[in-house]
């Protein structure tokens, strides 16, 4: 049998270019692009546009590579869950080995290119982020602890820090606070979703807080993490990246988010089922705006500063 015949036999459901793009989790990549770009823009050192563009592109490709590694390792649980069963690996369009190969190749490419385009510190931070998401989160802790969302959130929090490192070559209180903003935001954001989305994580034997510790405990944890998020978000406004615009936005958004988390905590399942999880859905939708508007306000402050206004 020639190669051509073998390939004709395997024609059913063959992977197209779009399937390889899907392997890189483009929606996650878009969030990475946005937050890394803000991290780059708010830094006190300006970066030539072409170098900035290249840096953001390869940070996004690095994030995509860790997504591909995640899909390679998690193919068994993705196959079991309805939401993920159509992903390229569990649906059989892409071989697991191909996903692993693409993930590893793009990881090396993104880290090397970021190092060449910017500096070794930023490249090292990107390499650590990929390692953290693929190995620490996906392979090690995701299936082990119900705090998996908190750990996964740390991986998603690194991009603005990398963007900052691209410009400055280091870490500072500002970049740590941008990291903290996404890190502390992820648990209440995701657990609000987990309360109203009846997912099948238990079928895949992934320990989710709603299943392992119950829904009342999840409501309490949402309030705790939101309360811890408030000083981080407002604190960022008092540093060199903040200013009156950011601080106003942060105070209003955090008051609203805290009120939402309080409302979630005070409800029980009976009340939530009676109005079809209205409060939980509202808080989840609000959390999306919350993060977007915080980083948007930081970008606005940077724009105002470069025009001689804004900032402290």
């Amino acid at each position: 049998m020639s190669d051509a015949t073998a390939n004709t036999v395997a024609a059913e459901g063959e992977a197209q270019f779009g399937d390889y793009v899907a392997l890189l989790k483009p929606r996650v990549m878009s969030l990475v692009v946005f937050t890394a770009l803000v991290g780059l823009l708010v830094a006190p050192v300006s970066v030539p546009p072409m170098i900035g563009f290249t840096a953001i592109l390869f940070i996004a490709i690095g994030a995509g590579a860790s997504g591909a590694l995640n899909m390679w390792y998690d193919a068994d649980i993705d196959r079991v869950m309805k939401r993920t069963a159509k992903r390229p690996v569990p649906s059989g369009k892409i071989e697991p080995g191909e996903a692993l190969g693409l993930g590893l190749a793009l990881s090396v490419l993104s880290v090397v290119m970021l190092g060449l385009a910017t500096n070794l510190f930023a490249a090292g931070l990107l390499a650590f982020t990929i390692f953290f998401y693929a190995v620490i989160y996906t392979i090690w802790l995701k299936r082990l602890t119900p705090q998996n969302i908190v750990i996964g959130g740390a991986a998603g929090a690194f991009p603005p820090m990398i963007g900052w490192a691209v410009a400055t070559g280091g870490v500072s209180i500002e970049s740590i606070l941008m990291f903290g903003l996404i890190f502390m935001w992820t648990p209440p954001h995701f657990w609000a979703l987990a309360l109203f989305m009846k997912s099948d994580y238990h079928k895949a034997k992934v320990p989710m807080l709603t299943v392992t510790h119950g829904r009342a405990e999840t409501r309490k944890q949402i309030l705790i993490y939101t309360a811890l998020l408030v000083p981080v978000a407002i604190g960022a406004g008092l540093t060199s990246i903040g200013g009156p615009v950011y601080l106003t936005v942060a105070v209003v958004l955090n008051a609203l988010f805290l009120k939402g988390a309080w409302d979630i905590w005070r409800r029980d399942e009976e009340a939530a089922e009676a109005d079809n999880y209205l409060v939980e859905k509202r808080v989840f939708r609000f959390s999306l705006f919350y993060l977007f508007l915080h980083f948007g306000a930081l970008a606005v402050e940077a724009g105002l500063r470069s025009a001689g206004m804004g900032g402290w």
Binding site: A4, E14, Q16, I51, L116, A117
Partner: protein, 63 residues
């Protein structure tokens, strides 16, 4: 078999091949743009990794 003969697989894999080709062209364009941007910064650098080399930077006060 002459390469001019088009098999069904060529049609089926067109999107994949086109995508890879466009990625390669984009990669070349990025490397070119990056090189120009680095040169315009005016650093004393060696070409192989586009990084400034302190060893070839003139010491202040010397010719």
């Amino acid at each position: 078999m002459p390469i001019t003969e088009t098999h069904e697989i060529h049609k089926r894999r067109f999107s994949r091949n086109l995508g890879v080709a466009l990625c390669l062209v984009a990669f070349i364009a990025i490397i070119f743009g990056l090189t120009i941007a680095k040169i315009q910064q005016g650093y004393s650098m060696e070409a192989f990794d586009h990084q400034p080399r302190l060893s070839i930077t003139p010491v202040e006060g010397e010719e």
